[in-house]
C-alpha cells in the first residue's frame, strides 16, 4: 500500500516528477474521458448538433472521398488554403525579418517604426478585410494582403526584441574584428536570432489560418473556410467535426516541422537550462 502511495505522490505534488509512462497513461485517460463524455451526450440519431459515432465515422469517410461526387474535399481544401497561406507567410516573414533586424541595430529605424508597428499590430486584420476587398478584389492578392497586415508586425516585433536583447559588447567585439554593418546584421545576428525567428513565424500560422478561413467564408469557392460554411448551411456536423479535428492535427504537424527545422538549423540552441 505504501509503495503505491509513493509512486502516486508526485501526481499531486507541485513540480513532482512523474515518469514518462505515467504521463502516457494520464494522456490515454484524457482521451477516454473526452470520448465517453461525447458518447454520453451524442445518443440520439435525430440530433443534428451532436452526431453519433457511426454518423461521425461515415462523415470522416465522406470528407476524405465523397462517394457521390468523387471529390477529395480535405485534400483539395488543404491545397487551396495553404496555397494562400504559405506565399503570404513567406512574404510576411521576409518583410518582417528585414524590418525587425534593422530595428534591432539602428536606433533611427527603431524610433521610426516601433510605435507604428505596435499600432498596426493592434488592428485586427479581419477589420481591414473590407478595405482589401475593395483594393484587391477576391483573388490571391487579397489573401496575401490580409495575412501580411495581420502577421508582419508580429514577426518584425519579435525579431526586433530578440536582436535588441543581444548585448552591445558582442557588437563592439564584431566591430573590433573588422565586420561591416551588413556582416554584423546578416552573417552573425541573423543566425543568432534564427531560433526566435522560427518561433515567431511558427506563431503566425494560427492567426493566418483564422484570417484565411474568415476571408474564404465570404469570398472563395474552395478552401477550409468555404467548405465549413457550406457544411454549416446544411447543418452537417458529422462533416464539420472531422474538418475541425483535421485543422488541429495540421497545426501540430506545422509545429513539428518547425521544431525539426530548429534542431537542424540551430543545433546550439537549448531552451530552459542554459
Amino acid at each position: 500500500m505504501q509503495r503505491v502511495w509513493k509512486s502516486l505522490r508526485p501526481i499531486i505534488t507541485i513540480r513532482g516528477e512523474i515518469s514518462q509512462r505515467q504521463g502516457q497513461i494520464i494522456f490515454v485517460l484524457a482521451l477516454i474521458t473526452i470520448a465517453s463524455v461525447y458518447s454520453a451526450l451524442a445518443y440520439s440519431d435525430t440530433d443534428k448538433i451532436l452526431p453519433t459515432w457511426d454518423k461521425l465515422w461515415i462523415g470522416v469517410g465522406k470528407v476524405i472521398t465523397d462517394p457521390a461526387t468523387g471529390d477529395h474535399y480535405l485534400w483539395e481544401d488543404t491545397f487551396a488554403s495553404f496555397g494562400r497561406i504559405l506565399p503570404a507567410i513567406g512574404l510576411s516573414s521576409l518583410i518582417g525579418i528585414i524590418i525587425g533586424m534593422y530595428m534591432g541595430v539602428y536606433g533611427a529605424a527603431e524610433a521610426f517604426l516601433s510605435r507604428i508597428l505596435t499600432f498596426l499590430g493592434n488592428i485586427p486584420a479581419n477589420a481591414l478585410m473590407v478595405v482589401f476587398f475593395s483594393y484587391f478584389g477576391f483573388g490571391l492578392k487579397m489573401y496575401i494582403a490580409v495575412i501580411i497586415s495581420g502577421t508582419v508586425s508580429m514577426i518584425a516585433l519579435s525579431v526586433y526584441e530578440a536582436v535588441k536583447a543581444i548585448g552591445s559588447e558582442e557588437i563592439y567585439q564584431l566591430k573590433m574584428q573588422g565586420a561591416s554593418s551588413s556582416e554584423i546584421v546578416w552573417s552573425v545576428l541573423f543566425w543568432q536570432v534564427l531560433p526566435h525567428i522560427l518561433t515567431a513565424v511558427r506563431a503566425t500560422f494560427g492567426p493566418a489560418l483564422i484570417y484565411t478561413i474568415a476571408a474564404e467564408w465570404i469570398s472563395a469557392s474552395d478552401g477550409f473556410g468555404y467548405r465549413i460554411m457550406m457544411f454549416k448551411r446544411s447543418a452537417r456536423m458529422e462533416l464539420i467535426f472531422p474538418y475541425v479535428a483535421y485543422l488541429g492535427l495540421l497545426g501540430i504537424f506545422t509545429q513539428t516541422v518547425f521544431k525539426f527545422a530548429e534542431r537542424i538549423l540551430c543545433p546550439w540552441y537549448e531552451k530552459g537550462d542554459k
Binding site: G167, M176, Q177, S180, L194, C266, K274
Partner: protein, 325 residues
C-alpha cells in the same frame, strides 16, 4: 613628459569624461610603453571601465584625447579598430558558433567580404583560404590548452574555457593592445592559475622579443578589482580614485577621478616562485592609497617613470627605446 625616451603605444592627454552632469574622469594623463602589462585598479564607480571603453573606442572623451599606435605613429582613437582587442567580462562569445569558429570569425571578416565569400564559395578559392584561417585558429586554441573543446558551443564550455576562447579570439587579430575587463572575477582558483599563467607566458614572449632586439608584440591593460592579481600579473599598477586634492592644484570644481597611483609591479615568468610577501605588501599599499586614501596628492604615489629613469624597471622596461628597434 617623463616617458619621452620610450616607445609609447598608448597615450591619454588630459582626458575628461562626463555623463550628463556626472563627472567621471578628470584630467587623466597616461603613457604606456610597448610591451607593458598594466593593471588598472580603482573602487566601484571610479571610472576604470569608462577609461577602458575610451581606449577601445566605445566612448569618446569629453575633453582631451586618447592616442593609440597605428601604422607607424600615434593616432587619435576613433571608434573600434582591429589594433585594440578587448576581452569583456561576459566574454561576449557568439552562442551559435563553436569555439573554433568564434575564433576564426575575425580573420574571415577582416580578410574577406560578403560578395567575396559568395563568389569564392562558387569557385573554390574561398574554401582554401577558410581552411588556412581555421588551421590558424586551431593552433591558437591548442596553445591556450583548448584543443579538446574547440568543437563545442560556448554553452557547453566552463567559465575558464570561455574566457580563454575570448582571449584567443582577440589574439588572432594580432592587436597591438589587448584590454581585459575583470578577467579574474567569477573563476575558481584552479582556472585563475591558468589565466595568470597565460598572461605570464604572453609577457615572457614580450621579454624574449626585447632580448632579440625586436619590438615586443603585445601590450596589455587589465582592469581588475583584485589588488593581489593586479600586482601579480603586471609590470605596472595604475590606481584611479575620486579622492584627490583638486584644490591643491587650484581647481575650484572637482573634475572627476584621476590617476593617484602609478608604480612598478613585479611580473613573474610562469615557473618563478612568487614572492607572496612582496605582493601582499604592495597590495596593501595600493589599498591604502587607492581605496582608502582621501585628499591625495596626484604626484606623491605616481613614481613609475622616476623609477624607470633610475633604472629600476624590469621586464620589458629594462630595454630603452632604440634597444628594441
Amino acid at each position: 613628459m617623463p616617458w619621452k625616451q620610450h616607445d609609447i603605444v598608448l597615450q591619454c592627454q588630459g582626458v575628461h569624461k562626463t555623463f550628463g552632469t556626472q563627472r567621471v574622469l578628470g584630467d587623466v594623463n597616461l603613457g604606456i610603453a610597448r610591451g607593458q602589462f598594466v593593471s588598472l585598479v580603482g573602487g566601484s564607480g571610479s571610472g576604470k571601465s569608462t577609461l577602458l571603453n575610451m581606449i577601445v573606442g566605445t566612448h569618446t572623451p569629453t575633453l582631451g584625447s586618447v592616442l593609440a599606435y597605428r601604422e607607424g605613429s600615434l593616432q587619435e582613437v576613433v571608434g573600434h579598430g582591429p589594433d585594440r582587442g578587448m576581452v569583456y567580462q561576459n566574454y561576449a562569445l557568439l552562442p551559435h558558433l563553436t569555439a573554433i569558429h568564434n575564433v576564426a570569425l575575425g580573420p574571415m571578416f577582416s580578410q574577406s567580404t560578403i560578395p567575396g565569400r559568395t563568389f569564392g564559395q562558387m569557385f573554390g578559392s574561398w574554401r582554401e583560404k577558410r581552411k588556412q584561417q581555421l588551421t590558424e585558429a586551431e593552433k591558437l586554441l591548442v596553445r591556450l590548452g583548448l584543443g579538446d573543446v574547440m568543437n563545442k558551443f560556448p554553452a557547453k564550455l566552463s567559465g575558464g574555457e570561455r574566457q580563454r576562447v575570448a582571449i584567443a579570439r582577440s589574439l588572432i587579430m594580432k592587436p597591438g593592445i589587448l584590454l581585459l575587463d575583470e578577467p579574474f572575477s567569477g573563476l575558481d582558483e584552479g582556472i585563475l592559475i591558468e589565466v595568470r599563467n597565460i598572461l605570464r607566458a604572453l609577457y615572457q614572449e614580450n621579454v624574449e622579443a626585447c632580448k632579440r632586439g625586436e619590438a615586443p608584440p603585445l601590450t596589455v591593460i587589465v582592469v581588475t578589482h583584485s589588488l593581489q592579481d593586479a600586482v601579480r600579473v603586471s609590470d605596472r599598477v595604475i590606481g584611479i580614485s575620486r579622492h584627490w586634492n583638486h584644490e591643491a592644484e587650484d581647481l575650484k570644481e572637482h573634475p572627476g577621478s584621476s590617476i593617484v597611483y602609478d608604480d612598478l609591479a613585479p611580473v613573474y615568468s610562469a615557473d618563478d616562485i612568487l614572492d607572496a610577501g612582496r605582493i601582499m605588501h604592495q597590495a596593501k599599499e595600493i589599498y591604502r592609497v587607492v581605496l582608502e586614501g582621501r585628499n591625495l596628492s596626484r604626484t606623491q604615489h605616481c613614481r613609475f617613470w622616476d623609477r624607470v629613469a633610475a633604472g629600476e624597471g624590469h621586464g620589458v622596461m629594462q630595454f630603452k627605446n632604440g634597444d628594441n628597434k
